[in-house]
Amino acid sequence: MLKRPPTICLSGTLYIGETHICGPLNLNLPSARWTCILGPSGVGKTTILRVLAGTATNVKLDGTLSTEDEKSLNGRITMMAQADFLMPWLNISENTAFGARLRGEKIDRTAVQDILTRVGLAEHLEKKPHTLSVGQRQRVALARTLLENRPVILLDEPFSTLDALSRIQMQSLSASLLRGRSVVHVTHDVAEAAHLSHQIFLITRTRSFHLSLGTAPPPPRRWGASETLSLQSRLLHLLMEET
């Protein structure tokens, strides 16, 4: 069973050593909502995700990271990045179950098979990652993320290396498979943000703010629909004005 994702609030400024990285931010992440963080490279988007994931040991947060139930996010969060981080010595099903394998837990083979079927890789269970295409490898990473079954998912430009068609397929697949979880999705692709997000944060070198989506329908929004396209062009204009 999936636990209900907590509402998360990150507010404050991020530093590495004495260097200002990002902020002041006020990032409110409601439960079971898809939040896109949009902004040019180098503004600290990855750093924000690392702070949420608890892996940013070198980052100082001058502010607070809080959850509505006041419990830590440890064990409730997982990350999917631009690189797939598949272990080259393990085959696809072993990579999918990497979390359980790593913790020395019993591996639920039917669950692995089921998830790999859902991402369309049922034929490739025994193959090694290097024999797959970039898009297929990213599907394995998605399957691994799903198998961890965490309520909060962090996505760090996971689709940016894919070709246009597999990118669209992966976006739709992720939108359907990650429904019900809180997703924090870093991207610099305005079309992606317009398609997937309940809410959008824009971060630029000078400021960061929450963008109201007004009357736009809930995601995933149809590709090419006029609401999606107008949202997309609004985002693009905002980004261009700010940078």
Binding site: R50, A53, F85, P88, L102
Partner: protein
């Protein structure tokens, strides 16, 4: 390469004839070949001893290398303490230790194995250590969010990821190991190819001496090849 070998053999054959060098100074390839044949039993007996020393040395140095590289990679204190030691070790001429090893461990196999271990321990350990600490940061962060302990990360990520590094260390070791064994045998032994070389030299059997060198070169080459083949076979997924 293919053209070079027959050419070198030809030069080797002609030079003693042209210059009139006597065979006990430079025997031609024909004489060496003949020595290989006449003494093949003797050569095989001594070769076997040297092989045993080398394999035992490779085995022990690998175990020691793994233990120390893991210790160094997992403890910052150990690293700070040992790393200067490792740099220092580069400037010690280890072959100079051979007489001392013979003094301590005697004329048997153990002093030669020890010499081999000492010569190859550092290449194995330092390549392995480099491979262990070069785990991609993203893998470690992933493992962290998955709730893995340090031991689990070591066992499931760092070590498998370091195997190609170990393989390249072992390939290097395969080249140096015969040197270690031979130096050990030169200092004091009653068996082994190094001993046979000294014996042949003392009796002015230069053709036998050359035959031994050829066997030794062939041994080193095959060792390197075998290690390469085995590591390719088990690490086929990682292209190097």
């Amino acid at each position: 390469m293919r053209a070079a070998v027959p050419l070198l053999l030809l030069i080797w054959y002609i030079v003693p004839i042209l210059t009139g060098t006597p065979p006990f100074i430079l025997p031609g390839p024909d004489r060496v070949l003949q020595a290989l044949w006449t003494h093949h039993r003797l050569l095989a007996d001594h070769l076997l001893i040297t092989i045993i020393e080398i394999l035992a040395g490779l085995f022990l140095a690998s175990i020691l290398g793994w233990c120390s590289a893991i210790l160094l990679a997992s403890s910052r204190t150990a690293c700070r303490f040992f790393q200067p030691l490792f740099l220092f070790s580069q400037i010690i001429p280890f072959f100079a230790l051979a007489p001392i090893l013979t003094l301590w461990l005697g004329y048997g196999l153990s002093s030669k194995i020890a010499m081999t271990v000492i010569i190859i321990y550092f290449p194995i350990t330092s390549t392995l250590f480099d491979a262990l600490i070069k785990t991609p940061e993203g893998w470690l962060e992933l493992a962290h969010t998955m709730g893995a302990s340090r031991m689990q990360i070591l066992y499931r990520i760092r070590i498998p990821n370091a195997l190609p590094g170990f393989a390249s260390g072992l390939r290097l070791a395969a080249v140096y190991a015969p040197m270690g064994a031979i130096i050990g045998e030169w200092v004091g032994a009653s068996h082994g190819l190094g001993y046979l070389m000294l014996l042949a030299n003392g009796q002015a059997q230069t053709d036998l001496m050359f035959a031994t060198v050829i066997i030794l070169a062939a041994l080193t080459l095959s060792l390197h090849t075998v290690v390469t083949i085995i590591s390719r076979r088990f690490l086929d997924h990682i292209k190097d």
